[in-house]
Protein backbone atom coordinates (compact mmCIF):
# COMPACT_ATOMS: atom_id res chain seq x y z
CA UNK A 1 0.00 0.00 0.00
CA UNK A 2 1.11 3.50 -0.84
CA UNK A 3 2.76 4.91 2.27
CA UNK A 4 1.32 8.38 1.72
CA UNK A 5 -2.15 6.97 1.30
CA UNK A 6 -1.72 5.09 4.55
CA UNK A 7 -0.68 8.33 6.18
CA UNK A 8 -3.81 10.00 4.79
CA UNK A 9 -5.99 7.18 6.12
CA UNK A 10 -4.42 7.46 9.56
CA UNK A 11 -4.87 11.22 9.55
CA UNK A 12 -8.48 10.69 8.55
CA UNK A 13 -9.05 8.45 11.54
CA UNK A 14 -7.38 10.97 13.83
CA UNK A 15 -9.50 13.82 12.43
CA UNK A 16 -12.58 11.65 12.88
CA UNK A 17 -12.06 11.60 16.64
CA UNK A 18 -12.56 15.34 17.07
CA UNK A 19 -15.40 15.44 14.55
CA UNK A 20 -17.06 12.59 16.43
CA UNK A 21 -16.82 14.57 19.65
CA UNK A 22 -18.51 17.56 17.99
CA UNK A 23 -21.16 15.33 16.47
CA UNK A 24 -21.86 13.83 19.90
CA UNK A 25 -22.42 17.26 21.41
CA UNK A 26 -24.68 18.44 18.64
CA UNK A 27 -26.62 15.17 18.59
CA UNK A 28 -27.08 15.28 22.34
CA UNK A 29 -28.65 18.72 22.11
CA UNK A 30 -30.79 17.77 19.16
CA UNK A 31 -31.94 14.52 20.70
CA UNK A 32 -32.80 15.99 24.08
CA UNK A 33 -33.94 19.56 23.41
CA UNK A 34 -34.99 19.02 19.79
CA UNK A 35 -33.14 22.07 18.46
CA UNK A 36 -30.23 22.46 16.05
CA UNK A 37 -27.57 24.83 17.31
CA UNK A 38 -26.40 26.14 13.96
CA UNK A 39 -23.79 28.21 15.83
CA UNK A 40 -22.22 25.14 17.42
CA UNK A 41 -18.94 25.54 15.54
CA UNK A 42 -18.85 29.18 16.65
CA UNK A 43 -19.01 28.01 20.25
CA UNK A 44 -15.94 25.94 19.45
CA UNK A 45 -14.32 29.04 17.96
CA UNK A 46 -15.08 30.96 21.17
CA UNK A 47 -13.42 28.20 23.17
CA UNK A 48 -10.35 28.29 20.94
CA UNK A 49 -10.03 32.04 21.51
CA UNK A 50 -10.52 31.53 25.23
CA UNK A 51 -7.58 29.11 25.36
CA UNK A 52 -5.49 31.39 23.15
CA UNK A 53 -6.25 34.48 25.25
CA UNK A 54 -5.67 32.78 28.61
CA UNK A 55 -2.33 31.31 27.57
CA UNK A 56 -0.89 34.03 25.36
CA UNK A 57 -2.28 37.19 26.99
CA UNK A 58 -2.73 36.04 30.59
CA UNK A 59 0.15 33.59 30.77
CA UNK A 60 -1.89 30.70 32.15
CA UNK A 61 -0.52 27.17 31.78
CA UNK A 62 -2.11 25.38 28.83
CA UNK A 63 -3.89 22.70 30.86
CA UNK A 64 -5.46 25.22 33.22
CA UNK A 65 -6.49 27.41 30.29
CA UNK A 66 -8.10 24.38 28.63
CA UNK A 67 -10.06 23.53 31.78
CA UNK A 68 -11.22 27.13 32.06
CA UNK A 69 -12.18 27.23 28.38
CA UNK A 70 -14.27 24.06 28.74
CA UNK A 71 -16.15 25.64 31.66
CA UNK A 72 -16.49 28.89 29.72
CA UNK A 73 -18.05 27.22 26.68
CA UNK A 74 -20.28 25.11 28.95
CA UNK A 75 -21.52 28.37 30.45
CA UNK A 76 -22.03 29.76 26.94
CA UNK A 77 -24.13 26.69 26.22
CA UNK A 78 -26.31 27.41 29.25
CA UNK A 79 -26.70 31.03 28.13
CA UNK A 80 -27.64 29.95 24.61
CA UNK A 81 -30.42 27.87 26.07
CA UNK A 82 -31.63 30.41 28.62
CA UNK A 83 -31.51 33.48 26.40
CA UNK A 84 -32.25 32.12 22.93
CA UNK A 85 -33.86 28.70 22.97
CA UNK A 86 -36.07 28.77 26.05
CA UNK A 87 -38.08 31.86 24.98
CA UNK A 88 -38.98 30.22 21.64
CA UNK A 89 -39.18 26.58 22.66
CA UNK A 90 -42.80 26.48 21.55
CA UNK A 91 -42.39 28.12 18.14
CA UNK A 92 -41.50 26.50 14.81
CA UNK A 93 -38.27 24.44 14.93
CA UNK A 94 -36.86 26.42 12.03
CA UNK A 95 -37.11 29.61 14.10
CA UNK A 96 -34.95 28.04 16.79
CA UNK A 97 -32.40 27.04 14.20
CA UNK A 98 -32.39 30.56 12.76
CA UNK A 99 -32.12 32.24 16.14
CA UNK A 100 -28.91 30.34 16.79
CA UNK A 101 -27.90 31.42 13.27
CA UNK A 102 -28.10 35.02 14.52
CA UNK A 103 -25.81 33.92 17.32
CA UNK A 104 -23.40 32.63 14.67
CA UNK A 105 -23.09 36.14 13.22
CA UNK A 106 -22.87 37.62 16.68
CA UNK A 107 -20.00 35.39 17.82
CA UNK A 108 -18.09 35.75 14.55
CA UNK A 109 -18.32 39.53 14.70
CA UNK A 110 -17.54 39.70 18.38
CA UNK A 111 -14.41 37.63 17.81
CA UNK A 112 -13.43 39.97 14.98
CA UNK A 113 -14.00 42.93 17.27
CA UNK A 114 -11.92 41.48 20.10
CA UNK A 115 -9.15 39.70 18.22
CA UNK A 116 -9.19 41.01 14.66
CA UNK A 117 -9.13 38.72 11.65
CA UNK A 118 -5.53 37.52 12.08
CA UNK A 119 -4.81 33.82 12.45
CA UNK A 120 -3.73 32.98 15.98
CA UNK A 121 -2.23 29.85 17.49
CA UNK A 122 -0.94 28.54 20.77
CA UNK A 123 2.67 28.91 19.77
CA UNK A 124 3.24 25.40 21.09
CA UNK A 125 4.86 23.04 18.61
CA UNK A 126 4.25 19.42 19.41
CA UNK A 127 6.63 16.83 17.96
CA UNK A 128 6.06 14.67 14.89
CA UNK A 129 6.12 10.96 15.55
CA UNK A 130 7.93 8.72 13.08
CA UNK A 131 6.59 5.22 12.69
CA UNK A 132 8.82 3.65 10.10
CA UNK A 133 8.19 5.80 7.03
CA UNK A 134 4.95 7.26 8.36
CA UNK A 135 4.84 10.67 9.99
CA UNK A 136 2.08 11.34 12.47
CA UNK A 137 1.52 14.63 14.23
CA UNK A 138 1.58 14.12 17.98
CA UNK A 139 -1.01 16.89 18.35
CA UNK A 140 -3.44 14.93 16.19
CA UNK A 141 -2.80 11.72 18.04
CA UNK A 142 -3.32 13.46 21.37
CA UNK A 143 -6.51 15.10 20.09
CA UNK A 144 -7.79 11.73 18.90
CA UNK A 145 -7.09 9.98 22.20
CA UNK A 146 -8.59 12.76 24.32
CA UNK A 147 -11.64 12.94 22.04
CA UNK A 148 -12.22 9.21 22.47
CA UNK A 149 -11.78 9.52 26.23
CA UNK A 150 -14.29 12.39 26.23
CA UNK A 151 -16.76 10.29 24.25
CA UNK A 152 -16.26 7.36 26.63
CA UNK A 153 -16.82 9.58 29.64
CA UNK A 154 -20.04 10.87 28.08
CA UNK A 155 -21.15 7.30 27.39
CA UNK A 156 -20.55 6.27 31.00
CA UNK A 157 -22.36 9.34 32.28
CA UNK A 158 -25.38 8.74 30.06
CA UNK A 159 -25.62 5.02 30.82
CA UNK A 160 -24.68 4.82 34.49
CA UNK A 161 -26.03 7.87 36.31
CA UNK A 162 -29.54 8.98 37.23
CA UNK A 163 -29.04 12.29 35.45
CA UNK A 164 -27.63 10.64 32.33
CA UNK A 165 -30.53 8.18 32.21
CA UNK A 166 -32.96 11.09 32.57
CA UNK A 167 -31.26 12.89 29.68
CA UNK A 168 -31.75 9.83 27.46
CA UNK A 169 -35.30 9.41 28.72
CA UNK A 170 -36.25 12.99 27.77
CA UNK A 171 -35.31 12.22 24.19
CA UNK A 172 -37.78 9.32 24.19
CA UNK A 173 -40.83 10.81 25.92
CA UNK A 174 -40.53 14.40 27.06
CA UNK A 175 -44.14 14.85 28.16
CA UNK A 176 -44.07 12.51 31.13
CA UNK A 177 -40.74 13.56 32.62
CA UNK A 178 -42.57 15.45 35.37
CA UNK A 179 -44.10 12.13 36.48
CA UNK A 180 -40.56 10.86 37.07
CA UNK A 181 -39.88 13.80 39.34
CA UNK A 182 -37.66 15.32 36.68
CA UNK A 183 -37.67 19.07 36.13
CA UNK A 184 -37.41 19.23 32.35
CA UNK A 185 -36.02 22.77 32.34
CA UNK A 186 -33.16 21.63 34.52
CA UNK A 187 -32.39 18.72 32.22
CA UNK A 188 -32.32 21.10 29.25
CA UNK A 189 -29.89 23.39 31.05
CA UNK A 190 -27.62 20.51 32.03
CA UNK A 191 -27.73 19.12 28.49
CA UNK A 192 -26.85 22.56 27.11
CA UNK A 193 -23.95 22.76 29.53
CA UNK A 194 -22.68 19.32 28.46
CA UNK A 195 -23.09 20.20 24.79
CA UNK A 196 -21.16 23.40 25.42
CA UNK A 197 -18.52 21.55 27.42
CA UNK A 198 -17.97 19.09 24.56
CA UNK A 199 -17.56 22.04 22.19
CA UNK A 200 -15.04 23.49 24.66
CA UNK A 201 -13.09 20.23 24.78
CA UNK A 202 -13.09 20.05 20.98
CA UNK A 203 -11.85 23.66 20.95
CA UNK A 204 -8.82 22.74 23.04
CA UNK A 205 -8.05 19.77 20.79
CA UNK A 206 -8.46 21.77 17.58
CA UNK A 207 -6.26 24.60 18.80
CA UNK A 208 -3.44 22.07 19.13
CA UNK A 209 -3.61 21.51 15.38
CA UNK A 210 -5.09 24.60 13.75
CA UNK A 211 -4.90 28.39 13.94
CA UNK A 212 -8.01 30.15 15.19
CA UNK A 213 -9.69 33.01 13.33
CA UNK A 214 -13.23 34.41 13.55
CA UNK A 215 -14.50 32.42 10.57
CA UNK A 216 -12.98 29.06 11.41
CA UNK A 217 -16.43 27.81 12.43
CA UNK A 218 -17.53 27.94 8.80
CA UNK A 219 -14.80 25.48 7.83
CA UNK A 220 -15.86 22.60 10.06
CA UNK A 221 -19.39 23.62 11.18
CA UNK A 222 -21.21 22.44 8.05
CA UNK A 223 -19.28 19.16 8.05
CA UNK A 224 -20.36 18.54 11.65
CA UNK A 225 -24.03 19.02 10.76
CA UNK A 226 -23.64 16.64 7.88
CA UNK A 227 -22.17 14.02 10.16
CA UNK A 228 -25.07 14.36 12.57
CA UNK A 229 -27.66 14.10 9.83
CA UNK A 230 -25.94 11.11 8.25
CA UNK A 231 -25.85 9.35 11.58
CA UNK A 232 -29.49 10.31 12.11
CA UNK A 233 -30.08 13.53 14.04
CA UNK A 234 -30.19 12.65 17.71
CA UNK A 235 -28.67 9.20 17.14
CA UNK A 236 -25.41 9.45 19.06
CA UNK A 237 -23.83 6.18 17.97
CA UNK A 238 -24.78 6.79 14.35
CA UNK A 239 -23.17 10.21 14.50
CA UNK A 240 -20.03 8.71 15.98
CA UNK A 241 -19.69 6.22 13.13
CA UNK A 242 -20.57 8.82 10.49
CA UNK A 243 -17.77 11.05 11.78
CA UNK A 244 -15.20 8.43 10.82
CA UNK A 245 -16.84 7.72 7.46
CA UNK A 246 -16.86 11.40 6.51
CA UNK A 247 -13.36 12.11 7.79
CA UNK A 248 -12.10 9.12 5.78
CA UNK A 249 -13.76 10.43 2.61
CA UNK A 250 -12.14 13.81 3.21
CA UNK A 251 -8.70 12.40 4.00
CA UNK A 252 -8.48 9.97 1.11
CA UNK A 253 -9.99 12.29 -1.53
CA UNK A 254 -7.82 15.07 -0.20
CA UNK A 255 -4.85 12.83 -0.85
CA UNK A 256 -5.82 11.99 -4.43
CA UNK A 257 -7.31 15.36 -5.45
CA UNK A 258 -7.37 18.57 -3.41
CA UNK A 259 -8.74 19.57 -0.06
CA UNK A 260 -11.63 21.49 -1.63
CA UNK A 261 -12.43 18.56 -3.87
CA UNK A 262 -12.54 16.30 -0.84
CA UNK A 263 -15.03 18.56 0.92
CA UNK A 264 -17.10 18.90 -2.25
CA UNK A 265 -17.25 15.12 -2.46
CA UNK A 266 -18.18 14.83 1.22
CA UNK A 267 -21.04 17.31 0.80
CA UNK A 268 -22.25 15.68 -2.40
CA UNK A 269 -22.17 12.24 -0.77
CA UNK A 270 -24.12 13.75 2.10
CA UNK A 271 -26.80 15.27 -0.14
CA UNK A 272 -27.19 12.08 -2.14
CA UNK A 273 -27.37 9.87 0.94
CA UNK A 274 -29.94 12.10 2.62
CA UNK A 275 -32.08 12.07 -0.49
CA UNK A 276 -31.90 8.28 -0.51
CA UNK A 277 -32.19 7.69 3.25
CA UNK A 278 -33.63 10.83 4.91
CA UNK A 279 -33.82 9.14 8.32
CA UNK A 280 -30.04 8.75 8.42
CA UNK A 281 -27.74 5.90 7.55
CA UNK A 282 -27.87 3.99 10.77
CA UNK A 283 -31.49 4.02 11.79
CA UNK A 284 -33.61 0.94 11.31
Amino acid sequence: MDIFLLEAVINGILLGGVLALLALGLNLIFGVIDVVWIAYAELVMSGMYAVYWLTNAQGWPVLLACAAAILFVALLGVLVHLLIIQPILGSAPINQLLATGGLLFFLQSLATLLFGTDFRNLGVRLPIIELGDIFISFARLLAFVVALLGAAALYLFLSRTFLGTAIRAVAQDRDIMGLMGVDQRRIYLITSAIGGGLAGLAACLLLLQYDVHPFIGLTFGPITFMICVLGGLGNMIGGFVAAFVISQIIAVTGYYLSIEASYVLAFVVFIVLILIRPQGLFSK
Partner: protein, 242 residues
Protein backbone atom coordinates in the same frame (compact mmCIF):
# COMPACT_ATOMS: atom_id res chain seq x y z
CA UNK B 1 -52.80 7.37 63.67
CA UNK B 2 -56.47 6.43 63.32
CA UNK B 3 -57.51 10.07 63.18
CA UNK B 4 -55.15 10.86 60.33
CA UNK B 5 -56.04 7.66 58.57
CA UNK B 6 -59.64 8.75 58.34
CA UNK B 7 -58.87 12.29 57.24
CA UNK B 8 -58.82 12.87 53.51
CA UNK B 9 -55.24 12.88 52.32
CA UNK B 10 -56.02 13.85 48.72
CA UNK B 11 -58.96 16.13 48.16
CA UNK B 12 -60.25 17.86 45.05
CA UNK B 13 -62.69 20.71 45.64
CA UNK B 14 -64.71 22.05 42.69
CA UNK B 15 -61.94 21.45 40.19
CA UNK B 16 -62.44 22.45 36.55
CA UNK B 17 -59.91 21.82 33.82
CA UNK B 18 -59.53 21.52 30.07
CA UNK B 19 -57.37 22.05 27.01
CA UNK B 20 -57.54 25.33 25.10
CA UNK B 21 -61.18 26.15 24.45
CA UNK B 22 -62.23 22.62 25.34
CA UNK B 23 -63.37 21.96 28.90
CA UNK B 24 -63.01 18.41 30.18
CA UNK B 25 -63.76 18.58 33.92
CA UNK B 26 -66.52 20.61 35.59
CA UNK B 27 -66.65 21.28 39.29
CA UNK B 28 -65.24 17.92 40.29
CA UNK B 29 -64.94 17.18 44.01
CA UNK B 30 -63.43 13.94 45.23
CA UNK B 31 -61.38 12.62 48.08
CA UNK B 32 -59.05 9.75 48.82
CA UNK B 33 -58.25 8.73 52.40
CA UNK B 34 -55.02 7.15 53.53
CA UNK B 35 -54.97 3.40 53.06
CA UNK B 36 -57.98 3.40 50.77
CA UNK B 37 -58.38 2.22 47.22
CA UNK B 38 -60.69 4.47 45.23
CA UNK B 39 -61.93 3.92 41.70
CA UNK B 40 -63.17 6.41 39.15
CA UNK B 41 -65.28 4.78 36.47
CA UNK B 42 -66.89 6.19 33.39
CA UNK B 43 -67.05 5.97 29.62
CA UNK B 44 -64.40 6.96 27.12
CA UNK B 45 -63.98 10.73 26.96
CA UNK B 46 -65.58 11.35 30.34
CA UNK B 47 -62.49 13.20 31.54
CA UNK B 48 -60.87 10.39 33.54
CA UNK B 49 -57.39 10.90 32.08
CA UNK B 50 -57.74 14.66 32.49
CA UNK B 51 -58.57 14.08 36.15
CA UNK B 52 -55.37 12.09 36.61
CA UNK B 53 -53.29 14.67 34.76
CA UNK B 54 -54.67 17.47 36.89
CA UNK B 55 -53.81 15.67 40.12
CA UNK B 56 -50.26 14.79 39.05
CA UNK B 57 -49.57 18.28 37.74
CA UNK B 58 -49.28 17.53 34.02
CA UNK B 59 -52.24 19.87 33.57
CA UNK B 60 -53.06 22.97 35.62
CA UNK B 61 -56.62 23.17 36.99
CA UNK B 62 -58.54 26.20 35.76
CA UNK B 63 -60.52 26.54 38.96
CA UNK B 64 -60.79 24.76 42.26
CA UNK B 65 -58.40 23.47 44.83
CA UNK B 66 -56.36 20.29 45.08
CA UNK B 67 -55.09 19.55 48.58
CA UNK B 68 -52.74 16.84 49.72
CA UNK B 69 -52.37 16.65 53.49
CA UNK B 70 -51.60 20.20 54.45
CA UNK B 71 -50.17 21.10 51.01
CA UNK B 72 -51.89 22.69 48.05
CA UNK B 73 -51.06 21.00 44.74
CA UNK B 74 -52.98 23.39 42.50
CA UNK B 75 -49.98 25.33 41.27
CA UNK B 76 -47.21 22.83 41.97
CA UNK B 77 -45.20 21.54 38.99
CA UNK B 78 -45.43 17.81 38.25
CA UNK B 79 -41.93 16.97 39.46
CA UNK B 80 -42.67 18.57 42.85
CA UNK B 81 -45.94 16.66 43.15
CA UNK B 82 -44.08 13.38 42.71
CA UNK B 83 -41.64 14.47 45.40
CA UNK B 84 -44.63 15.26 47.64
CA UNK B 85 -45.68 11.61 47.36
CA UNK B 86 -48.07 11.15 44.44
CA UNK B 87 -46.95 8.83 41.66
CA UNK B 88 -48.86 8.45 38.42
CA UNK B 89 -48.88 5.38 36.17
CA UNK B 90 -49.94 7.07 32.95
CA UNK B 91 -52.38 5.87 30.34
CA UNK B 92 -50.76 3.44 27.86
CA UNK B 93 -47.92 2.88 30.39
CA UNK B 94 -45.57 5.31 28.62
CA UNK B 95 -42.37 3.40 29.36
CA UNK B 96 -39.19 4.74 27.80
CA UNK B 97 -39.10 2.15 25.02
CA UNK B 98 -35.36 2.17 24.30
CA UNK B 99 -34.27 2.23 27.93
CA UNK B 100 -33.90 -1.15 29.59
CA UNK B 101 -36.34 -2.32 32.24
CA UNK B 102 -33.82 -1.48 34.94
CA UNK B 103 -33.19 1.97 33.49
CA UNK B 104 -36.93 2.61 33.49
CA UNK B 105 -37.02 1.64 37.15
CA UNK B 106 -34.05 3.91 37.75
CA UNK B 107 -36.04 6.80 36.31
CA UNK B 108 -38.74 6.04 38.86
CA UNK B 109 -36.19 6.62 41.62
CA UNK B 110 -34.93 9.91 40.18
CA UNK B 111 -35.99 12.13 43.09
CA UNK B 112 -33.24 12.50 45.73
CA UNK B 113 -35.31 10.89 48.49
CA UNK B 114 -35.73 7.75 46.38
CA UNK B 115 -32.20 7.77 44.97
CA UNK B 116 -30.79 7.21 48.43
CA UNK B 117 -32.71 3.92 48.69
CA UNK B 118 -32.28 2.86 45.07
CA UNK B 119 -30.63 -0.50 45.77
CA UNK B 120 -33.14 -1.72 48.31
CA UNK B 121 -36.14 -0.44 46.32
CA UNK B 122 -34.89 -2.21 43.22
CA UNK B 123 -34.54 -5.46 45.18
CA UNK B 124 -38.05 -4.95 46.56
CA UNK B 125 -39.59 -4.36 43.10
CA UNK B 126 -37.80 -7.44 41.73
CA UNK B 127 -39.19 -9.43 44.64
CA UNK B 128 -42.67 -8.08 43.95
CA UNK B 129 -42.38 -8.70 40.20
CA UNK B 130 -39.80 -11.47 39.59
CA UNK B 131 -40.56 -11.24 35.87
CA UNK B 132 -38.96 -7.79 35.79
CA UNK B 133 -35.73 -9.16 37.22
CA UNK B 134 -35.55 -11.71 34.39
CA UNK B 135 -36.05 -8.94 31.84
CA UNK B 136 -34.00 -6.26 33.50
CA UNK B 137 -31.52 -5.75 30.65
CA UNK B 138 -34.14 -5.87 27.92
CA UNK B 139 -35.38 -2.65 26.23
CA UNK B 140 -38.76 -1.96 27.82
CA UNK B 141 -40.41 -1.45 24.43
CA UNK B 142 -39.80 -5.08 23.47
CA UNK B 143 -41.84 -6.62 26.29
CA UNK B 144 -45.45 -7.80 26.18
CA UNK B 145 -48.25 -5.47 27.24
CA UNK B 146 -48.72 -7.12 30.62
CA UNK B 147 -45.01 -7.04 31.40
CA UNK B 148 -44.90 -3.40 30.37
CA UNK B 149 -47.75 -2.61 32.76
CA UNK B 150 -45.81 -4.41 35.50
CA UNK B 151 -42.77 -2.29 34.70
CA UNK B 152 -44.80 0.92 34.65
CA UNK B 153 -46.26 0.13 38.06
CA UNK B 154 -42.84 -0.85 39.37
CA UNK B 155 -41.40 2.40 38.08
CA UNK B 156 -44.06 4.40 39.92
CA UNK B 157 -43.51 2.40 43.12
CA UNK B 158 -39.76 3.12 43.11
CA UNK B 159 -40.47 6.49 44.72
CA UNK B 160 -42.51 4.79 47.51
CA UNK B 161 -45.44 7.15 46.92
CA UNK B 162 -48.11 7.87 49.49
CA UNK B 163 -50.69 7.61 46.73
CA UNK B 164 -50.49 5.69 43.49
CA UNK B 165 -52.57 7.00 40.58
CA UNK B 166 -53.33 4.41 37.91
CA UNK B 167 -54.82 5.44 34.59
CA UNK B 168 -56.60 2.56 32.84
CA UNK B 169 -54.06 -0.12 33.71
CA UNK B 170 -56.06 -2.74 31.82
CA UNK B 171 -56.47 -0.78 28.59
CA UNK B 172 -55.32 -2.53 25.45
CA UNK B 173 -54.54 -5.84 27.18
CA UNK B 174 -55.87 -9.31 26.43
CA UNK B 175 -58.60 -10.52 28.85
CA UNK B 176 -56.29 -13.01 30.54
CA UNK B 177 -53.68 -10.29 31.07
CA UNK B 178 -56.36 -7.92 32.40
CA UNK B 179 -57.00 -10.44 35.20
CA UNK B 180 -53.28 -10.46 35.98
CA UNK B 181 -53.20 -6.67 36.11
CA UNK B 182 -56.04 -6.56 38.63
CA UNK B 183 -54.20 -9.19 40.61
CA UNK B 184 -51.24 -6.77 40.64
CA UNK B 185 -53.49 -4.00 41.92
CA UNK B 186 -54.62 -6.28 44.78
CA UNK B 187 -51.01 -7.00 45.68
CA UNK B 188 -50.15 -3.32 45.73
CA UNK B 189 -53.12 -2.74 48.04
CA UNK B 190 -51.95 -5.51 50.32
CA UNK B 191 -48.55 -3.78 50.45
CA UNK B 192 -50.42 -0.94 52.12
CA UNK B 193 -50.43 1.61 49.27
CA UNK B 194 -53.23 4.10 48.82
CA UNK B 195 -54.55 3.79 45.28
CA UNK B 196 -56.67 5.96 43.01
CA UNK B 197 -57.54 4.01 39.90
CA UNK B 198 -59.37 5.09 36.78
CA UNK B 199 -60.97 2.33 34.72
CA UNK B 200 -63.49 1.47 32.07
CA UNK B 201 -63.47 -2.11 33.23
CA UNK B 202 -66.19 -1.40 35.77
CA UNK B 203 -66.96 -4.85 37.12
CA UNK B 204 -63.37 -5.77 37.86
CA UNK B 205 -62.37 -2.44 39.31
CA UNK B 206 -65.29 -2.50 41.72
CA UNK B 207 -63.95 -5.80 43.04
CA UNK B 208 -60.65 -4.25 44.12
CA UNK B 209 -61.60 -0.78 45.39
CA UNK B 210 -63.27 0.37 48.62
CA UNK B 211 -65.14 3.28 47.11
CA UNK B 212 -65.89 4.55 43.63
CA UNK B 213 -66.99 7.65 41.75
CA UNK B 214 -68.82 7.75 38.43
CA UNK B 215 -67.49 10.40 36.05
CA UNK B 216 -69.62 11.25 33.03
CA UNK B 217 -68.96 14.17 30.60
CA UNK B 218 -66.68 15.80 33.12
CA UNK B 219 -69.15 15.68 36.03
CA UNK B 220 -69.17 13.42 39.07
CA UNK B 221 -72.59 11.76 38.80
CA UNK B 222 -72.45 9.30 41.64
CA UNK B 223 -70.28 8.14 44.48
CA UNK B 224 -70.38 5.49 47.17
CA UNK B 225 -68.79 2.34 48.50
CA UNK B 226 -67.95 -0.26 45.90
CA UNK B 227 -70.91 -2.52 46.75
CA UNK B 228 -73.28 0.46 46.66
CA UNK B 229 -72.05 1.55 43.27
CA UNK B 230 -72.20 -2.02 41.98
CA UNK B 231 -75.88 -2.20 42.97
CA UNK B 232 -76.83 1.07 41.30
CA UNK B 233 -79.33 0.60 38.46
CA UNK B 234 -77.74 3.15 36.13
CA UNK B 235 -74.31 1.58 36.59
CA UNK B 236 -75.65 -1.91 36.08
CA UNK B 237 -77.46 -0.97 32.88
CA UNK B 238 -74.90 1.35 31.32
CA UNK B 239 -71.61 -0.21 32.39
CA UNK B 240 -72.16 -3.84 33.29
CA UNK B 241 -74.63 -4.77 30.62
CA UNK B 242 -77.01 -6.18 33.21
Amino acid sequence: MTATANAATLSLTSVSAGYGSFAALFDVSLEVRLGEAVGVIGPNGAGKTTLMRVISGLLRPRRGEIGFGAQSLSSMPAHAILAAGIAHVPENRRLFPRLTVEENLRMGAFIPAARRHYGERLAWIYELFPRLRERRHQPAGTMSGGEQQMCAIGRALMSKPKILLMDEPSAGLAPLVVDQVFELVRRIRSEGFTVLIVEQNVQQVLDVVDRAYLLESGHIRLSGTAPEVARDDHIRRAYMGL
